[in-house]
Symmetry: C2
Subunit: 299 residues, 2 copies
């Protein structure tokens, strides 16, 4: 068997085109242009790259984009006051504070300071609770788990009653992915560093989501034949010839001989994350006060 | 093998005595007497009984207790305005609205109207999110899941790395219990009505929590020898001689020959629920503004 690939780039491009069309329609009907603000503190090159990619994606989709750059030595008070300004700014519908933050800042306090109605990252505990309760129309689902579910939907694989195994229990990926799968009526098992006999779990998975951050962690022997495998890992490794390369948590070459569907890295989950962030920003703008039909959007 | 029973009555009595001692100490040191308000709408006899039991337990533990009785035809607006009054009342630290509510009232709107800092039932989405994130010192864990974890702790059974299987995914019992077990580093599987081959899951469970509402649903063949089995069901059945009797979701006689630990029904999880509600009310009072050491209590 050779696994069918799930083409995250193509699916993400389609979603982004859809967001562009919907955003243009929203602007025509209400005069409101969805706006995303990204707060970047310090000079972490990876963070700067992510923010740049998000900004570019916004611009391509016709969303307003603002980047607030703050120096590495910014105090928590100063950052919180910037967040408060953005909360009050009617031109900004989505706010993201790029993590990680410098050590003098309490990340949790910053995450909680973001207005839950503008929390397009879905990190605020109120939005986490709404995801846990399955109130998905009233929350923002974090972008990576939302992207994972979209990829699964694209395969057409039945989730109801499926055995779903999630490797990793992080608040940003593993846990919300497990909750979303549960709300789709999969039987969900959450595995993590404390799990014994991991392979006994992964081998019964119809749907296997790997979010562990270890290159090639999932081998062919750990995968049920025909399973749908979603690889969330993005690990930088060095090839034999000294060249850097990105690989996932799944041994792609091996597992593609066993799985039924498999996401590549890069080009699988990665591109979906920004697409779902744009969707969340569009949803935030639609729910904003003063938008026609806002009551319906909120239900 | 004959399973050792987990005596919820004895453990609950100990917790209630502890709450009584702590509440008395709090009153001596701060002048604050923890207070619980229960709102009862309509004439449902089971609801009336629960509220009466909670009031009695409060009084025995030296907590202030207030019951607000409203007629079955109370409007949502009226109920919300009562909740708002209680939110503002400094003598009330915990508020519970007894569910179910009459059909003209939107339960979700009422649950969300309760101040999260007084939400001793732990039903507000913000508190659900904090439980999901493992921020247990800043939330209220719903009483039944909290009681289940306490029973498990009393057995001394190691949860880290244990295979835990939860039957039922309700927002009040199954889901939060699964999240608490996950935060204790168990490998957690959540099963429900859509699960295929349920016994294959239950048979590998070191810890099995049954919250399905079906009398005798869990049979001996579904239980791993030596497992710790927590029976959350409270089902009213009629004996051969026509007498009503309470039974759990677990076939007690059968499963006690297989399990290592087993909770009885009645006398297992049931008594824990009110004890944990009292603990939550005490915690709410400790965190209330003006209480000495409140900053520490909140962390």
């Amino acid at each position: 068997m050779t696994a069918r690939p799930i083409d995250g780039r193509e699916i993400a491009a389609r979603i982004r085109a859809g967001v562009a069309a919907e955003a243009a329609a929203l602007e025509r009907s209400s005069g409101i242009r969805p706006g995303l603000a990204a707060v970047l503190v310090g000079d972490d090159p990876a963070s700067a790259t992510y923010v740049k990619m998000k900004r570019k994606a916004c611009e391509e989709a016709g969303l307003a984009s603002r980047v607030i750059r703050l120096p590495a030595e910014t105090s928590q008070e100063e950052l919180l006051s910037r967040v408060t300004e953005l909360n009050a700014d009617p031109g900004i519908h989505g706010i993201l504070v790029q993590l990680p933050l410098p050590t003098q800042i309490d990340e949790r306090a910053v995450v909680r300071a973001v207005d839950p109605d503008k929390d397009v990252d879905g990190f605020h505990p109120l939005n986490v609770g709404r995801v846990a309760l399955g109130e998905l129309d009233e929350t923002f689902v974090p972008a990576t788990p939302a992207g994972i579910l979209r990829l699964l939907d694209e395969t057409g694989v039945e989730l109801r009653g499926a055995e779903a195994v999630v490797l990793g229990r992080s608040a940003i990926v593993g846990l919300p992915t497990a909750l979303l799968l549960l709300h789709r009526s999969a039987t969900v098992t959450i595995c993590h560093s404390g799990t014994r006999d991991l392979a006994s779990h992964t081998r019964r998975a119809d749907v296997l989501v790997a979010a562990v951050g270890k290159p090639g962690f999932v081998t062919a022997a750990m995968v049920k034949p025909g399973a749908t495998v979603i690889d969330v890992g993005i690990n930088r490794v060095t090839d034999g010839d000294g060249k850097p390369r990105l690989v996932g948590d799944v041994d792609f070459d091996q597992v593609s001989n066993v799985a039924g569907w498999l996401t590549p890295v890069p080009g699988g989950v990665g591109p979906m994350t920004i697409a779902m962030l744009l969707e969340n920003t569009l949803a935030a703008a639609r729910r904003a006060p003063g938008v026609m039909g806002a009551a319906e959007a909120r239900r």
